[in-house]
């Protein structure tokens, strides 16, 4: 059965322009759709192939390409197959259509993406903040939001002065490499001795 699943989907999508279908694994199919035809694709999948369960909507910020990628993961209880439909929308203005009328779980995911990435979904029932009600900054999951920089600028760290450290400092030692300097993000390998 598994091998057969890919074909019906590609047959199903034959009428939809610009939707490509590719089998990725035993129970995984990837569909590359366009923002224009995605609602049609989802409707076909739900209506004709029994993909009733919207497992998740994933958003990816491709900042360098100026695009958001939206992935709709659909599961069919009958075929036991998972379809991931990928689309890319422009990062600005970052607006897309809600699929809430097709899949109710979309309401939560769209709301989540809205507050984490700032993508607006037209027609979604509730795009109020949910998690970040007390957050005034930019949508934090965007790649251009430097969380660590924000943290460093906002918070102070504990300045430990234990006795052993004071003793070592008296002898001329002390903290040689701070943890921040060794982190994969900021690590400068140059100048070991400096």
């Amino acid at each position: 059965m598994n091998g057969e699943v890919g074909r019906p989907i590609s047959r199903l999508l034959a009428d939809v322009d610009g939707a490509r279908c590719e089998r990725k694994g035993d129970r995984r199919v990837r569909i590359d759709a366009t923002p224009e035809n995605l609602p049609a694709v989802l409707e076909l999948l739900k209506g004709r192939a029994g993909y009733l369960h919207l497992s998740a909507i994933t958003c990816i910020d491709w900042m360098d390409d100026g695009e958001f990628e939206l992935i709709y993961h659909l599961w069919s209880y009958e075929d036991r197959n998972l379809v991931s439909a990928h689309i890319r929308i422009p990062r600005e203005p970052g607006v897309y259509l809600s699929v809430y009328d097709l899949f109710e779980p979309a309401g939560f995911f769209e709301r989540d993406i809205h507050e984490m990435y700032g993508v607006f979904f037209e027609g979604s029932p509730d795009q109020e903040k949910f998690i970040l009600t007390e957050w005034n900054g930019p949508p934090p999951m965007r790649k251009d939001f430097d969380a660590e920089g924000w943290v460093q600028g906002t918070f102070q760290w504990e300045d430990y002065r234990p006795e052993w450290l004071q003793e070592i400092e008296e002898k001329g030692g002390g903290i040689a490499i701070k943890p921040e300097q060794a982190r994969a993000n900021t690590r400068k390998i140059r100048g070991w001795k400096q």
């Binding site: 990816i60 910020d61 209880y77 309401g107 949910f130």
Partner: protein, 380 residues
């Protein structure tokens, strides 16, 4: 944002008032809030408010090495951390084509099922406590603690095991471990009749939970309910069987279902699942001594590990439902994107809001606990 023909909701001609459930409220699982609008004892509307446990995991993971994230993932769902570790590891193994040794797969299943038992024991206590009976939670937590002892022995940590890493598990089992787990399972099985007497055959408890918080199969499917909550509506769907991972297709177990979709049905499903998990554990214990070999595939030096370009949407069945990780690698030493789809993300927000509405004030907490909604999964 609203349709143009929006009209203000008409208020019923009676007293209505709002009650905050949480974040500091014994009827809330974890740190979560529910604003309930009441008409007498009846809930008119409910509004979930999350984010109290938000840590920005998905952002944190984008900034850490592949290996460093294994310390992070179990924290996404504290009562049931093993599926998180396994799911993350499976996703990376899927992308990078790592072949997990057979022994590691069986060990992972053992952990997953023990964790499920622990989570369910915790759940029974929680559900009973919302109805005013505290003894099951005292018992359940104490018995769960015995499982944590075994986890401590295995992984060195009681709650955060950080034991599954991409490629397998970190260590082999200590000597005599299987015997002790086996004894523990015997003990738990012997305890079950006592739990039955106290909780599952308790007339008052049955009366409190039967027919409360009903959700039928159509609604459950439309609302994206998964896991035991879905099985309580009669659909025998389980990721372990229908989208098998590790070695679940080699194991003999059943998927318990109930038809009525009420709190009582959900509890019964979990009770049977606990029995099935014990059964799976026994199979693993029987099979494990014959499976030799390493417990971990060699992985690259964690400080210089580029997972190849690729993406994976990996799902496992946690004690709460369908848990999925979407992991995307652009070939770097860190993930480009990790999306965690916790089962409770559905249950604790949309489903809970809808199920509570129209119900009774005294059942709000019970419904939330019976869905086994885990707020940190929602907030991430």
């Amino acid at each position: 944002m609203r349709p143009e023909n929006y009209q203000a909701q008409s208020h019923p001609p009676s007293h209505e008032y709002e009650l905050n459930f949480g974040p500091n409220h014994p009827g809330i699982e974890g740190n979560y809030a529910l604003q309930v609008r009441l008409h007498g004892d009846t809930v008119v509307s409910a509004h979930a408010d999350g984010g109290y446990l938000h840590r920005g995991f998905e952002k944190l993971m984008e900034g850490r090495l592949w290996i460093q994230n294994i310390a992070l993932v179990p924290r996404i769902c504290v009562p049931d951390p093993v599926p998180m570790e396994v799911c993350y590891s499976l996703a990376i193994e899927d992308i990078s084509g790592l072949q997990v040794p057979e022994r590691a797969k069986w060990l992972r299943v053992l952990q997953l099922e023990l964790s499920r038992i622990a989570a369910h024991l915790f759940y029974f206590g929680g559900h009973a406590a919302t109805t005013g009976m505290y003894s099951p939670s005292f018992w359940g937590v104490a018995d769960r603690d015995l499982i944590l002892d075994r986890f401590e022995e295995l992984s060195g940590g009681r709650v955060y095991h950080i034991f599954n890493i991409p490629g397998g598990v970190r260590r082999d089992i200590p000597e005599g471990f299987l015997g002790r787990v086996s004894a523990l399972l015997d003990y738990l099985e012997a305890r079950l009749p006592e739990y039955d007497d106290l909780l599952f055959r308790n007339q008052v408890f049955v009366r409190r939970s039967k027919g409360v918080g009903v959700i039928d199969q159509q609604q459950a499917l439309a609302w994206g309910v998964t896991g035991p909550n879905l099985r309580a509506t009669g659909l025998g769907f389980d990721v372990r069987r229908d989208d098998p991972y590790l070695i679940y297709n080699q194991l003999d177990f059943e998927i318990p279902t109930e038809d009525s979709g009420c709190c009582w049905a959900r509890t019964l499903v979990r009770r049977s699942e606990l029995q099935q998990s014990i059964r799976i554990c026994r199979q693993v214990i029987a099979a494990l001594p014959d499976i030799g070999g390493p417990v971990r595939a060699p992985i690259p030096n964690p400080l210089a590990w580029n997972v190849p370009v690729g993406e994976s949407y990996t799902r496992v069945e946690s004690s709460k439902g369908e848990l999925a990780y979407y992991v995307l690698s652009t070939g770097g030493e860190k993930p480009y994107r990790v999306h965690v789809r916790g089962p409770s993300a559905m249950h604790a927000v949309q489903v809970l809001e809808k199920m509570v509405t129209g119900g009774r004030l005294e059942d709000v907490a019970q419904i939330m606990f019976s869905l086994d909604a885990c707020p940190p999964e929602v907030d991430r």
